[in-house]
């Protein structure tokens, strides 16, 4: 009888960890909306270019700056290319750039942060002072500088976009490791002769990964915005690749007469970024309730 009472107070065990985890992410309507939009965007940019009757760079001279119509629902650009087709195609670049640059930045950040937190001493202070210098130049500027030095292309652009997020990641990882290192379970691990490497990988790193995932996910959206800003000023991925920011730059010249050229690319960016931000919020709430309000 007494045991029954005790058991009744315990939560029922989760059916499966993954299912439980996803249920928690999708707990809020906002996160569900985010996932729905993201899926929509993904399906559109994967299938869109395949279904579309127009080629990405297929020009139709009769349709130069064509307004939205039945055959070209979003209209055509200054070279008579179908805007919708180019948007869907460009989405691949924007999303890929956003994901790749955020991941890459997180990886470098985690790596340097681990080295700083793990070795301590002079290594740590040197690295942290380097991060001070690094963050003295605002992220967008570093991005522009690296982009002009490295030139155009996919990987140079990924590097340029990721470089600004490194100092923040390093500080977070190092901070987290410093906090964890003081805890007694690390002392316990040391006392049973765990190797330093094993402590690093089995005890310290797992504490870092979760907040890193949250930060990285929440950063994808702003990275996509940064990528579009970069191509808006003519750096990063170059025409005729249909990057959303470059399409905005092109449409800027015709803003008076043909506003559809800037409206649709902008809405595409906003929709994608909103979905990623909503998902990021959901992920944060699911993984780390402490960070929530």
């Amino acid at each position: 009888m007494k045991m029954k009472q005790v058991k009744r107070n315990l939560n029922p065990p989760p059916t499966s960890l993954q299912a439980e985890f996803f249920a928690r992410i999708l707990a809020a309507w906002s996160a569900r909306l985010g996932v729905a939009i993201l899926l929509f965007v993904l399906v559109a940019i994967v299938l869109g270019p395949v279904i579309s009757p127009y080629g990405v760079n297929q020009m139709d001279l009769t349709q130069i700056l064509g307004k939205p119509s039945a055959s070209h629902p979003f209209g055509c650009d200054s070279m008579g290319r179908d805007l919708l087709t180019r948007l869907l195609h460009g989405g691949r670049y924007s999303l890929l750039l956003g994901f790749a640059a955020s991941m890459f930045g997180a990886l470098i950040g985690t790596f340097i942060g681990c080295i700083a937190g793990y070795f301590g001493g002079i290594t740590e202070s040197l690295l942290m002072r380097l991060m001070d210098v690094w963050s003295a130049i605002p992220g967008m500027l570093l991005c522009i500088l690296v982009s002009i030095v490295m030139g155009a292309g996919f990987f140079p652009t990924v590097l340029a976009l990721s470089i600004g997020s490194v100092p923040g990641g390093v500080r977070m990882v190092r901070g987290q490791i410093l906090v964890e290192r003081k805890k007694e379970y690390i002392e316990a691990a040391e006392s049973i002769n765990c190797s330093k490497m094993s402590i690093m990988f089995h005890h310290l790193l797992p504490n870092v990964i979760q907040p890193m995932i949250i930060i990285t996910t929440m950063g994808i959206g702003s990275t996509i915005i940064m990528a579009s800003a970069l191509s808006y000023i003519g750096l990063g991925i170059q025409p005729p690749t249909p990057e959303w920011g470059a399409m905005l730059a092109d449409g800027r010249n015709y803003i008076r007469e043909f506003p559809h050229l800037i409206t649709f690319p902008g809405i595409s960016i906003a929709l994608t970024v909103i979905s990623l931000n909503l998902l990021g919020d959901g992920l944060r709430d699911a993984l780390d309730p402490k960070m929530r309000n």
Binding site: A136, P138, I144, I225, S228, Y232, P259, I269
Partner: protein, 314 residues
């Protein structure tokens, strides 16, 4: 406290020097021969050599670096623009006020409006006002600010004709640039303000204040707000730096001849003195803004102040 300030200022100088060194090196590594780019394709070998000598490009990397560091940080002189031949510092000083004005005004808007919205949402927690504010904040965080600027131009300048679309003719020209630069920050501060308010609302000292018989409105003003403002104030320095760093794009949208636009000119013309001068300005501005806000924070929060006072210089 005084010692701490001095230490921080010295640290800042070192950081800016190193940043200058890194930026110079990056620019040095930039592909292409600047002399060739300046003179165009039909230049002869001898004119190119002459140009290189004129720009000081025939010197070694170390010599060029030393010269740059000396002129930039000791004599505050960034030399002459390669393409225009005018002193860069002079041009920078003309453009500086415009960029600073937009940046600082946007930041003031950020803090005031953002905090107000955050407090508004937190005090209406769970009601429709809260949800609406947060949905709008989410939208404005996710919309690229330069696109928002373009849409503002489309709507307010072209469709309604209320405000100028570009240039700096009169104070009205600054309205749209300031607004578009501020919107993302307002949204960020509204979210931050809401969550720190919610944290404070449940703090024990709020119960204490209620137990004293204090009016709710006074509790919000005297106890909740000052505590909830702390995280926002911490972010002001970084936010200001962010707004100013976004100026290349904003100024290009609105055709404002500020420092950001100058940087883009320098980049397009591969004009190293212009780029270096602008980047050093941005680095100095960022560091000073963050330093000032840190000190401000320490001044406002007695706990941080005590920490700093206790720190030994060394």
């Amino acid at each position: 406290m005084g010692k701490y300030v001095i230490q921080r200022v010295l640290q800042m100088f070192v950081i800016i020097w190193i940043a200058g060194f890194i930026v110079f090196t990056l620019m040095y590594m930039m592909p292409g021969d600047p002399a060739k780019i300046l003179l165009g394709n039909d230049a002869t070998e001898s004119t190119i050599l002459a140009k290189r000598a004129e720009l000081g490009l025939d010197a070694s990397y170390v010599e060029q670096l030393a010269s740059f560091m000396y002129h930039a940080f000791v004599r505050f002189d960034f030399g002459y623009s390669w393409s225009y031949g005018v002193p860069v510092m002079q041009e920078l000083l003309v453009r500086l006020p415009r960029t600073l004005f937009i940046g600082v005004s946007a930041m003031v808007l950020n803090v005031l409006l953002g905090t107000w919205l955050g407090v508004f949402a937190a005090t209406h927690r769970g009601k429709w006002q809260d949800s609406l504010t947060m949905v709008i904040a989410m939208v404005f965080i996710s919309v690229p600010d330069f696109w928002l600027a373009l849409m503002c131009v489309l709507f307010f300048s072209i469709n309604l004709g209320w405000l100028p679309a570009y240039g700096i003719d009169g104070p009205l020209s600054y309205v749209l640039p300031i607004l578009s630069s501020a919107v993302a920050g307002i949204a960020i501060n509204a979210r931050q303000g809401r969550s720190s308010m919610l944290e404070v609302i449940h703090a024990d000292f709020i119960s204490t204040a209620r137990a004293k018989g204090q009016k709710e409105s006074v509790i919000v003003r005297k106890h909740m707000l000052p505590n909830a403002m702390m995280p926002i104030i911490t972010g002001v320095g970084g936010g200001l730096a962010m707004v100013v760093a976004g100026s290349p794009i904003m100024e290009s949208v609105f055709s404002i001849p500020g420092v950001g636009a100058y940087l883009l000119v320098g980049i397009n013309l591969r004009d190293r003195p212009i780029v270096l001068a602008c980047v050093v300005f941005f680095a100095v501005f960022t560091s000073v803004a963050i330093l000032l806000m840190d000190l401000c924070y320490a001044f406002l929060d007695p706990r941080i102040k005590a920490q700093y006072a206790a720190k030994k210089v060394g």
